[in-house]
Subunit: 87 residues, 2 copies
């Protein structure tokens, strides 16, 4: 399945969630990641995210697309800097 | 069509992009909005966003879903505070 992930975490946890998302997905905007994951990868990713966020404070939105379909995405404004520029 | 919008703008422009998005869509996370728009509304929204962002710096990602389909969204972590708490 294809996923789009958007996180809103406390600043002190941003490096960990960023590192976790980078292990599984492509970085497309400051706190937005995308990519295709198998069901098993999705479960491991979910567990990894749960391990770095404060579930009482941080928010992670996960949009999933059925197998074989990918999001139609438009980019308005500046093309994103290369992910390494974004913390 | 249904849209999911994620913006990453310079801090000084956040209030304007927030106000613009609120006029058209539902606020679901700090810089994430969702909602159904007609083709005409989508065009007006796009023009309104172009009017408040710096297209050389700010980034707005717009995920569109074909008519009749809506995203499957999971929320990990904290349920979002009411939109008015989020600037």
């Amino acid at each position: 399945m294809y996923v789009v992930v958007v996180y809103d975490t406390a600043a002190e946890r941003n490096p960990q969630i960023l590192r976790t998302c980078r292990q599984y997905l492509h970085h497309v905007q400051r706190s937005v990641f995308e990519g295709a994951l198998s069901a098993a990868q999705f479960k491991r990713f979910q567990a990894a995210v749960a391990g770095v966020i404060d579930t009482g404070y941080d928010s992670v939105l996960v949009y999933t697309y059925p197998p074989g379909s990918v999001p139609r995405r438009e980019e308005w404004g500046a093309a994103q800097p290369s992910p390494s520029d974004i913390l």
